[in-house]
Point group: none
DNA sequence: CATGAATGAGTTTTCATTCAT
DNA sequence: TATGAATGAAAACTCATTCAT
């Protein structure tokens, strides 16, 4: 580890041609698979190149470092989450919105976001040494989520300190969903129960004086 | 050379003299520091030996691998947690126990457990590829905690499915404490508020019909 | 790091370009030199790489271990021997074959086989912990040699138990040639005398009632 | 390998006391066992000390190096062989000595010498980098053996060049016995047959004009 | 004398990255 | 551009040997 002069993280070149675009796709897919299967420390760029069916030389043509591959993947996850949460936000203005519906929607969204490839998600956000840029972006997204929630809460409940409540709610959702999804296999309690319980938990919290 | 079977995780030699006991201590301390500072992938056994002021040979005299060092450290954390939770359990039989007191006690215990060295805690339980033995032990501890809670809940509340509630509560505590403590530095919300909010959250959940 | 299964003996990558084929050649040549000069325990992969004028990384690109290098070398020797003995066998059917000619031919072949690089030969087959595969192949070759000899013996002599005689003859040749060639330098008796004496020995044995 | 400044080979101290003598014995016994079981490269001084039930410090109290242990063992073997061959020599003057008896006696002696611990014998004289002193002594012993044989041969046969014949005979015996004894397990031909065949071989050779 | 803890140079091996083809 | 051979710094780990107790 701690290779001498860490190369940059941003992609080396913007691939415009189709073929290049396809290579990038194939590389990211391979990265996802290998990372999920072997963890950050167990993954090598040669594994990724081999899995992608691409030469190691080509890999470095598109990504300047191992970190850059993971970062690109993480970025995609973050972008997907941003999109999903933006969609969610669009519904928050609905006039017939109730607290129950809101909570249900948020829980569903969070579970969706984590469910696709839990192992990859875990490796990406727990093991990979992500750069500040991405970490900041994740934080910004959570802030935004919390702010949006704080904005509607007063209309649905009469609790004090809506910002704090919103923030706690967001972290609660994020953190518990992550855990349940990641440990799903070993978990003795079935997924649906967990989802229902999560809703009950959040509702109880947001109703508590 | 007819390489012998791969190094295991269990310590190589039982230290008998107090001198070697001290070396083990110093090595574990150094491991904790280096792990917290550089993460799992960034830590090397040479770093640890250097930090401990001990030769690399001595390190391998007592620990057959990098994994073994981390495992020993994780084991200590788990043992400390077991002790702390056993203490907590001893109070659960008190006749004047109320739900509020119980929740306060649990929250305090969890925060204490995570607070000592949050970065190390994170690296140890998120990055290090811990062996099954330890992971099972952690799970057993959580199970035990959940069972103990489930046993007293009926006396304090009238909710259905106490086992499920207990389990969710334990995971909730574990997971949120971990997150808050680990991200403490960056967190805009002060620790005391978090603790109070955590109590409110758990209380609300355990009172919800 | 989830260390992958221990390195095997089979080459890691099939060299496709001629450049890499040359590297493999150079590595094997260097292995032969270093092994002959320093013995198995005294040889290191770094010695070999340095002697080959190749980076240590390249060495491991083609050979997963020190053992694999020696095994590849041993395999070449065995193959050369198989070829040489097959040639010898081709002549065994000649109608004008006499016992004298046969013995002369066998002795010559054996000495040739050992003479090229005696020290390497010694190290390779006495010191190197060769895998079962190669050892079995050597044994098979000797068996084959003995069978071929046993098949012609009845035509040339009238001894009983030709299989036993053939087997003893082969081992005798193998073992004495090996010794004389290996200790040639220190030997007070010149090579030609040895060869003549070996012929006399074998002839006497195969003629003895 | 090739440790910086190779320490001497001769024992560090002459142990006079009984206890010391016993420790030396125990160490040599352990060396024999470990060497036979793991080969030269696979043997460590720590293995030997552990097997002997002696501390590593004590080992170095009596033997200055790993090589010295093996050398001491080899020396014992050589001394035993010298003794055995001297005994053999004592009978050579007997008036009723025949060639048959002589050969029988020599073959028996050689087999005896190798039979005790074939694996150790192989490791000791093929793998261990024995010092010149011992190698010279072995050679001297063989010379002596050959000379003694050459001295009686004229009385029993009428061949020319008795020195050469004697030398070949000795090497033949040495080398074939070694091989058969070492590969005994895998050998398809039973030991007794081998012994008989060895006698036949030597007799045939010594009778051949 | 015995002990066994400590040492550290030396070995094997890996893998991110470069560069000739 | 793609390829994959080559690189070598750095990591894990060993073991003969020393030396404080």
């Amino acid at each position: 580890m701690s290779r001498p002069s860490r190369p940059a993280i941003s992609p080396r070149r913007k691939p415009r041609q189709q073929r290049s675009q396809a290579t990038v796709e194939v590389l990211l897919l391979a990265t996802a698979r290998v990372l999920a299967a072997r963890g950050w420390a167990g993954t090598t760029t040669n594994h990724i190149a081999a899995r992608a069916g691409v030469s190691i030389g080509s890999l470095y043509e598109y990504f300047p470092s191992k970190e850059a591959l993971a970062a690109a993947l993480a970025l995609r996850h973050v972008e997907a989450a941003e999109t999903r949460l933006a969609e969610l936000g669009a519904h928050l203005g609905d006039c017939e919105l109730t607290l129950e519906l809101l909570v249900k929607a948020m829980v569903s969204a969070m579970i969706e976001l984590h469910a696709e490839n839990p192992r990859l998600h875990r490796v990406l956000f727990e093991e990979v040494p992500l750069g500040l840029a991405i970490r900041r972006r994740v934080r910004a997204m959570e802030d935004q989520h919390a702010r949006a929630l704080a904005a509607v809460l007063p209309r649905l409940t009469s609790l004090c300190e809506p910002e704090l409540r919103a923030r706690v709610t967001v972290e609660l959702l994020e953190t518990l969903t992550h855990r349940w999804v990641v440990t799903a296999k070993a978990e003795p309690i079935p997924r649906e129960r967990m989802q229902a319980e999560l809703e009950r938990l959040v509702l109880a919290y947001l109703r508590a004086g």
